[in-house]
């Protein structure tokens, strides 16, 4: 396998595909419908759960699941940098003056324990979702994702979804080439952005234009092999696992009970 060349902070779709197609863990063998259901459950869970410790625990459990699937941990830590930066850029204005004991004073602003808890909660929510999304994508073969999309989404939305997913590969591949060309001539992304912002904005925009051009060629090649708006999966979905889907349903029921019953950690949503 060639060495990874792309920015180590951008999830590598080819690596994701490699693990999805080649992996043999128990998670790879789970019913894809159950995994999608579990992701939906997790999103609802981290949205409704309040205590920071519970959210951190959810993140820890998700990471354990990720490791049990035999997925690469170092890459995961690197891939975390972009969602963490994204969350921090959103909460930078919200964390100050929260109720709680002061931790840090900067200028006229005070960071409290409540503010720190807010940051930790939001980061944990984001990373839990990112981690399990990666688990889903890295343990589910594309043909099964395509099969699910074809079943769940109406046509042509399913085709748009599937082709957008593959378009992401094209775009990231071009950005990969761009970064490689930068490094080959001693350049760097961060340094370049800081010193030649306009030039780099142009290059960034151009990479999308090129990706569109490339996608157009891919589209022509598909048309040349008879693509007429339907991309039928070449393999059926695995048989429905009643046990696994039942487990997801029970988890949803438990969550609904916790929320509607106003259990500790889910308070404030009692009808």
């Amino acid at each position: 396998m060639p060495p990874l060349r792309r920015s180590s902070h951008i999830p590598d779709p080819n690596l994701i595909t490699l693990y999805a197609e080649r992996g043999g863990s128990a998670l790879h063998r789970l019913d894809p419908r159950a995994k999608v259901g579990a992701l939906a459950w997790l999103v609802v869970f981290v949205t409704l759960a309040r205590p920071t410790w519970l959210l951190v625990a959810a993140l820890a459990v998700t990471i354990v699941v990720y490791l049990l699937a035999g997925l690469p941990f170092r890459e995961l830590l690197r891939w975390y940098s972009i969602p963490v930066l994204f969350v921090l850029s959103l909460v930078v204005f919200l964390v100050w003056e929260e109720p709680g004991a002061p931790v840090l004073a900067a200028g006229g602003l005070v960071l409290t324990t409540g503010g720190v808890a807010l940051v930790v909660s939001l980061v944990a929510r984001a990373l839990t979702t990112v981690t399990f999304t990666l688990v889903l994508l890295m343990t589910t073969r594309y043909v099964h994702l395509a099969g699910l999309a074809a079943k769940v989404l109406p046509s042509p939305i399913d085709q748009v979804f599937l082709l957008s997913y593959r378009f992401l590969f094209t775009t990231l591949g071009l950005i990969d080439g761009l970064l490689l060309a930068l490094r080959a001539r001693g350049g760097g992304l961060v340094r370049g952005v800081l010193t030649s912002t306009r030039l780099f904005a142009g290059i960034f925009a151009l990479s999308f234009v090129r990706a569109y051009d490339r996608a157009d060629r891919v589209g022509r090649a598909m048309t040349a092999r008879g693509y007429e708006g339907r991309f039928p999966p070449s393999e059926p979905l695995p048989p429905l696992s009643v046990v696994q889907l039942g487990a997801v349903a029970v988890a949803f029921a438990a969550l609904a009970f916790a929320v509607l019953g106003g259990l500790p950690g889910f308070g404030g949503v009692v009808p």
Partner: protein, 289 residues
Amino acid sequence: MKPPVCCAPDERPSLVHIDCASHVYPDGSVGMHAMCFSVHRGEVIAVCGANGSGKSTLIEHLNGTLVPAEGRVQVHGETVDDARRRQLWRTVGVVFQDADSQLFAPTVIEDVAFGPMNLGLSPAEARQSALEALEAVGASGLAQKIPAYMSGGEKRLAAIAGVLAMRPEVIAFDEPTSDLDPVHAARVEGLIDELRRQGQYGLVLSTHDLDLAARIADRVAILKHGSVIANGPPRDLFYDVELLGGAGLIEPRVVRLWRELCLRTGRDLEPQPVTEAEFVAALADTGRG
């Protein structure tokens, strides 16, 4: 400039025939001008020309992905109308120059099965057809591979398998050996030769590598400014320095060497070898003479 060579009557039934077709791109550049071109079963025809001479435009017309503004495309002697054009991919398969643009599925087997699925085969039949095509190109081991992690040569073989799996009557190769190392280039060349020997396909290859065309083509069409300016067996065309120079092409290495040898020894250009094997045979004859 030589005028376009228009369709000379040919008694052989053509699989696909392009009849005085023209195509102009939206920016006004001429892709094809009064192009006449035929593909016959069991024949390898090399379309040779400089960059921008219309090779890729011609191939996309063969496959129906481009439509001529003037002229017509015929399949088995019947003019292709709009409805039939959309089905032309069943008759003409194209192996694109950039294999990365052709391989879009996550694994090779799914990509190769894509065409057969569009032909209406069941998933199981499509996969079987894909496996057979991969075996035919000697790349069974690539079935479960992910294209992003394959070499350029492996990608080219997988792309060829993707077209073979559809069992078209005509296969068009756009620059089939460009960017390949000598081993993979020889493998692709051998594969085209094997397909020719099977006799069931019409094979078109666009190239500016006249050495390749000399080795493998039964017939050569020289393109310039979107028109065929010469059409015939390699031996008839590759010794015409004016023709090749005018088309922005360089004569094959064997022709260059033979011409130099004849110039130095004062002998006649006959038998005009164009392949290395012919060159060696001619050289041996010279020695005996």
